[in-house]
């Protein structure tokens, strides 16, 4: 097990931006196959990310939105929002979309060796990239993720990032509030509504309950073209090829089968109560009554 490197809570100021008046936010955005189009697998059972239409994961737009709102609320501070994506060449589109929405910088980690990575390897690459962004621009105070990716829907990468970076995890927020380096969120957990608190730096994930994400404006789209975009390889992050990718994944998809199409059901049109009788008849025939 890794030794605990986390400083005591009272000691956090040296981990915040270089000056008290700066704040660094990294937003993790994933490039996913479009859920409204056909999604498929490759021959090696990995998700086809290249042969289909892809886009910035819908649920990560909420993460970008929350980062931008925070930047707007903290107008008297120098807040930098960096969008980070690990994915194939095409995935740069996800970073670009985040820049168009208003993020300041983009970082795209891409390397052939990453293809087929599982959660474990993906979280490793993200964690190393966050450390590199921190070394270059000042350590991240806030790492914002979506609640889940729309392809894998694991909802596990934020927890893994917190574990790897040894930071508090504040996940599944429906409302986010910050004051200085304090963060408070509201969230719906399994059986209750909770208020959670932590001190930055933290890993945060947000749900679609946080509020609509903005559309890129024409001005935003033009401005994005001039924003800094960095492309990093595994070598840039000091990760060996045998730490990531399909061949070393700690879990393996053995087989993928398209679900057989549902056999067309019986559809009746209600006329003067006939629908209700037919419905009850169907439920009885299936022993639900």
């Amino acid at each position: 097990m890794r030794p605990c490197k986390r400083p005591a809570l009272t000691d956090h100021h040296h981990r915040r931006g270089r000056e008290a008046n700066t704040m660094n936010i990294v937003v993790c955005v994933k490039y996913v196959p479009d859920a409204t189009a056909d999604r498929q697998f490759e021959a090696d059972n990995t998700v086809d990310r290249v042969g289909v239409d892809g886009l910035l994961s819908e649920l990560d737009e909420y993460a970008v939105e929350q980062a931008l709102q925070l930047k707007e609320k903290r107008a008297d501070e120098e807040v930098t929002v960096t969008a980070l994506c690990v994915g194939p060449e095409k995935a740069v589109d996800a970073v670009r979309k985040a820049l168009q929405m208003g993020a300041d910088k983009g970082v795209h980690v891409t390397d052939e060796e990453i293809a087929g990575s599982d959660y474990i390897a993906t979280s490793l690459v993200l964690a190393k990239a966050i450390e590199k962004i921190g070394a270059d621009n000042g350590p991240a105070d806030l790492i914002v993720c979506g609640m889940a990716s729309t392809d894998a829907s694991g909802s596990v990468v934020p927890a893994m990032l917190a574990e790897r970076l040894n930071l508090p995890q504040v996940t599944l927020a429906s409302v986010v509030e910050t004051q200085g380096d304090q963060v408070r969120i509201k969230r719906d957990s399994e059986g209750s509504t909770e208020v959670i608190g932590a001190t930055m730096p933290i890993v945060l994930s947000v749900t679609d309950q946080t509020g609509e994400a903005r559309y890129p404006s024409f001005k935003g789209i033009m401005a994005a073209k001039k924003k800094p975009m960095e492309t990093l390889s595994l070598a840039d992050l000091g990760i060996e090829a045998d730490q990531v990718g399909l061949s070393v994944a700690w879990s393996k998809v053995e087989d993928t089968t398209p679900r057989p199409p549902r056999t067309a059901g019986e559809i009746v049109t209600d006329e003067d109560g006939s629908g209700a009788v037919a419905l009850a008849g169907f439920l009885a025939s299936k022993k639900f009554i």
Partner: protein, 321 residues
């Protein structure tokens, strides 16, 4: 046979049905040991239940020092427990908490993780082979873990719970929790009011509705109650403030996989489908005969739910006699 750890899903000692499903699955893979995080005075009742579903051992972890914090302490405790013996798998309920504890544990003990399994069987040599339903239910995927102790989170309704007496030997376990794991504090927690209906994710029948009902849920609730069903909702109903978010079915709500799903006035958007497409039987009532939901149904009624549902409720009550 080596041990399989099953993390008990419970609220204040009330064990939830997925726990029994996990214990049933665990028996296919090895010797089930249940793990109870909770108050020691609730342990006796929980142990009895775990025992009745085949737990040979029950580790009791007093959560007094853990429960005020989010997931990290539980992950530390599980990692320490996992180091005690050689395990053939660790099973968690696929709740958000279950998944997050599993995620951190996977990194700590360097083991592969599979989330949201809808079935787990013993494969060659007894190692678990999982089945997942992905891409909003349009693909079925089987997978195995290739490194470490397989950590698997399992969705509700993935197995029929089978009772069988286990030894149920109690072992108190006291983890050492670091300060670093206690940095995310639960400041307040407001339990949701009980509805008196079955839990959405565990129910055999789910009846869902939408804003089409104009905020009047009477016909839906009466219909649901006539079937003994849980009530769900689409995001449209939740967004308009008529239903709490905990009722939402779909990509960003709950995933349900009941025997019967009845969608009333729900169009069938991909995000909604993602949460209900694996239901065994699907029924819809919708006044638009072109609503995409009809592509999924085993039985559909084109009609106004305000007239169809009350009449159906009456008919069901009559048939039940």
């Amino acid at each position: 046979m080596s041990e399989v750890l099953v993390v008990i899903d419970h609220v204040d000692g009330e064990v939830k049905k997925p726990t029994y499903e996990l214990l049933t699955i665990a028996r296919r893979l090895g010797e089930p040991s249940a793990v109870f995080f909770g108050a020691p005075d609730k342990a006796d009742g929980v142990v009895e239940k775990a025992k009745a579903y085949g737990a040979e051992k029950v580790y009791v972890i007093d959560d007094a020092e853990l429960k005020g914090y989010l997931v990290a302490p539980k992950a530390e405790a599980m990692a320490q427990l996992a180091q005690q013996s050689s395990l053939s798998a660790i099973l968690f309920p696929s709740t958000f908490e279950g998944k997050e504890v599993a995620a951190r544990l996977a990194i700590k003990i360097e083991s592969g993780l599979i989330t949201d399994a809808v079935d787990v069987q013993a494969g060659d040599g007894g190692a678990p082979v999982t089945t997942q339903s992905v891409f909003a239910g349009s693909y079925t995927v089987t997978a195995t873990v290739t490194r470490g102790t397989p950590i698997i989170t399992v969705k509700p309704n993935s197995a029929a719970p089978e009772e069988t007496a286990g030894a149920g030997t109690v072992e108190a376990f006291t983890p050492t929790i670091s300060d670093a794991a206690r940095t995310t504090q639960i400041i307040a927690s407001q339990p949701r009011a009980a509805t008196g209906r079955p839990e959405l994710t565990e129910a055999d029948i789910v009846v869902s509705c939408v804003r089409g009902t104009g905020g009047n849920f009477d016909p839906i609730e009466k219909f649901a109650d006539s079937l003994g069903a849980a009530v769900g909702a689409s995001r449209a109903a939740v967004d308009s403030g008529w239903m709490p978010h905990s009722y939402q079915v779909g990509q960003t709500g709950k995933t349900v996989s009941p025997q019967l799903y009845v969608a009333n006035g729900i169009s069938g958007a991909i995000q909604h489908r993602a949460g209900m497409q694996t239901s065994k039987t699907i029924v819809a009532v919708n006044k638009d005969n072109e609503a995409p939901i009809f592509e999924l149904v085993d039985f559909g009624v084109v009609g106004d739910l305000h007239s169809v549902l009350p009449a159906a409720t009456e008919e069901i009550t009559k048939r039940k006699g």
